[in-house]
Amino acid sequence: MAQRSAIPLLIPARPAGGNGAQPPGGEPGPGPEAPAARIQTGLWFLLVAVAMLFVAFTVSYLARRTAPDWRPVPLPALLWINTLVLLSSSAALEEARRRGRRGAGGAMRRALGLTALLGGVFLFGQIAAWRELAAAGLFMRTSPHSAFFYLLTAVHGVHLLGGLGALGYALRRVAGAPQAAVAVTLGAVAIYWHFLTVLWIYLLGILWV
Amino acid sequence: MNSEHSTQRSGAAVGIALAGLIVAAVVGTMVARGRWWFPPLASAQGRAIDALFLATFVIIAAAFILVQGLLAYFVWRFRDRGQRASYWHEHRALELTYTIIPAVVMTALTLVAAGLWSRIHSAPPAGALVVQVRAEQFGWKARYPGPDARFGRVDPAQYHPRRNPLALDGADPAGRDDLVVDASTRELHLIVNRPVEIRLSAKDVVHSFFVPGFRIKQDAVPGMTTSIWFTPTQTGQFEIACAELCGVGHYAMRGRIVVQTPEEYAAWLAEQAAP
């Protein structure tokens, strides 16, 4: 179905001529938007909030990094494997959406399950990376670098846990649902999930370098 | 809904209340001027600060009287007396006027204040007396560099709460003539008309070095040294107050400054040197 832009034009057209019968505000309003646009709008603004959280962490991190006593700690190579796992989960999610669009309900649900599984593997992998660090004697208190590492991975992980919850919810909802609704639900989950994947790559980037 | 009579009364009452507010504010401020006002000015750059405050005060007092007055007048004049309200709700010129006038006033204040601010934070003049002040829970410790005008090194390992509270390194000859004064139990001494730079540090939490008479305030932040400079222009005693919440003793974190003539100051210094 034709979807309107999620963010409608905020400044309506000026009334033609400045006087007379034109109602103020120009064009009449669009009327209530379909649920798809609603969910999309809500999700994009959610991403804005999550992004601001990490902007604040980033600013704090960069401020700390520029101090003369900065000594980075070696980060486990496991993180690269975790990254691949997370990327794969995003791929699996896209696969699920493709299957959903083609109406292949079973394959779609399997792909969704794979996404969730890979997400879970990622989280376990993160915990494993923590344990590797701890075994090397690197805890939150050891150095600012390790502090930020634990902090950023933890906060990202918590959000990913939320994403797993969303996946679980989506799995239940798409059972027997019409294709349009499925597309909306999976689209919403995808926005959030891919955002977390991109966010992870960004975090790894600033932590590793 | 109000009866017409009640509306008349309410309109008059609110108008009178607002007018009364203006009167009370003016009278109250005049009373306050006599007893609850700034302590006498005792520093050189404080003069410009007081002048800027006075100018701002005049502006906001005028605005206060104008706006509260208009409010009082409109509320009384346009109370419901059976008239129909006017549909008038746009007037670009008027709106631009009360956009531009505040903007001009704000710009003028910005420029003046910016100039003064940069002067306040300019480098202290050569020959300024330098004093280190360390804030702690709950008092002030000052250190003078002594005749060699150099501060000795600090060695945290040599800290002792009573004998060496500033953790001076006994091995550093530059520190031998440093003079440490507890400005809470005794006083920090300054010389009248001699600029002084205060270098602030903090031992534990954030404090703030506030001397109302000099119109100065600067936070003392752990992990960094902040500084301000000023020139005391009156002899006498002045109080240091802590102006940043620092714990349960925050209210008792009082210090004292004594501003003396050069002769008195020299005499005081000599006293400190004597064993």
């Binding site: 809500g42 939150m140 | 700034f38 709700h89 534990d204 752990p222 349960v248």
Partner: protein, 597 residues
Amino acid sequence: MAQVAHAEAAHELSFWRKYIFSQDHKVIGIQYALTSLAMAVLGGFLAMFIRLQLGWPGQSWPLLGRLFPGGMPDGQISPAFYLSSVTMHGTIMVFFVLTTLLTGGFGNFLIPLMIGARDMAFPFLNMLSYWLYPPAILILVASFFVSGGAAGGGWTAYPPLSALPQAAPGSGLGQTLWLVSLAILIVAFLFGSLNYITTVLQLRTRGLSMLRLPLTIWALFVTAILALLAFPVLLAGAIMLLFDRTAGTSFFIPAGLLLGSVPVDHAGGNPLLWQHLFWFLGHPEVYILILPPMGMISDILANNARKPIFGYRFMVGSIVAIAFLSFLVWGHHMYTSGMHPLLGTAFMTTTLVIAVPSAIKTFNWLATLWQAKIRFTSAMLFALGFVSLFVTGGLTGIVLAQPPVDIYFQDTFFVVAHFHFVMGAAAIFAAFAGTYYWFPKMFGRMMDERLGKWHFALTFAGIYLTFFPMHYAGFMGMMRRIYSPALYAHLRGLAPLNVFISIAAFVLFAAQFIFLYNFFRSLFRGRKAERNPWGATTLEWTASSPPPHGNWGEALPVVQRWAYDYSPPGVAEDYLPQGAPAAAPIRRGDGDGRREH
């Protein structure tokens, strides 16, 4: 229709689903409002402790000492208890009363109704948003009873004081609980903001373009965006501070600290980082607290003046400008912090700039009253009071905006006076105005107007008498968060002033019980309200009082005009509702400067 069937199905809901875990925005709004009211009483009591101590330092209060033995040994308020009172008073009033009431209470109730929607975009998320609030309260209140007592570092919680449990009794477990409670509440605010933004963008009824929105909605909408952008930054800071306290990190704690004689085992952090993070939220937060009032006051003034709000477009522009600029001024809380002086100059500039849209709004409110037909309902009285209080508070902001002058006033009672006028007075007045105005819609009954007038008179006088003299205390240099000014020679003359303020504060607090009595009595015994008792133009008044689940029956209202057709020319009625069809033909030449709509 699906929506009506859904509305009817609501009758099948259990008591729990209808009134407790409701997803109806009206119920959620009322839940927010009532909970905020309870917190306001608590916050008010804490203020009474503060004034008791400042009015009569050193005095013993045996009766209170028996009620609060922990905080008042021998009947004397202890310094730690005093600081906890100050901290919790501020925290509760800012976050747990004003933010929750204005955005959660009024925002939830009004947004769908004023835009012609049946409910918020995400009703389940909305319910979740409210139900994070009571747990946050429980954690916060619990902090009073833990060892060391409630947090005592001020609502600003500057580290290292707030980061080192040994630095003060109030920096113990109480501070941790404070941070956890705030974090939970921030998530509630974020969920709420998502709802408000999406609902205003997507669920406006037909005909309701953005420039036909009432200013209440513009304000709530822009406020929600502010909250969404700003609160996460404080959340980040709170998380880092929690780790500094519990995990040995040093985000905010530098090296070399000594508490007493005990070295502190942290290094590398910067206390100023917290200040930047805190005020990056803290300043937009105060605009979160003043923008919805500005919007509501505009609508209430217009309605009671029977006149369109003056300068609607400039009003919308000002709201947006204030919101945008509010992100650029936070450093004016930090002029003496030790940050680079050039930053001070930059922040001064933006701060003085933000005064301009506030001035525009003030003059537009005045112009709205010009040639009006003012009726003095309780709502209108509080709306007029708002204008007066906002002017007073805003003007003193101009003093504080300039760093050279702020040096003297920073952390003195001049600042306390300033923010009480804008937040504790003006914003609260708007909340009162909104309550008197929308109570009929919320509960289907009218509040008592006579009690309302008494409430107004006592509160208006009480607020000026309590907070105006605080400016004078600031002139003398009386510092904030001071357990007793008596130790300072330069503050010796303050005692009579502090006594006066305290007595005025007691009277002010007592007067609020008139409101409480009126509110609760009217809930059960108030005169039944008609659909549109105030003759208002906006859409919520086309629903019944109170509206059913789903707000309207079969047909949603359709909007034909803007929200301010009061006393429209060429029409017999003294107002035209937004949803009413086009009125009689417009006659040209009906007067200068009057645009026909």
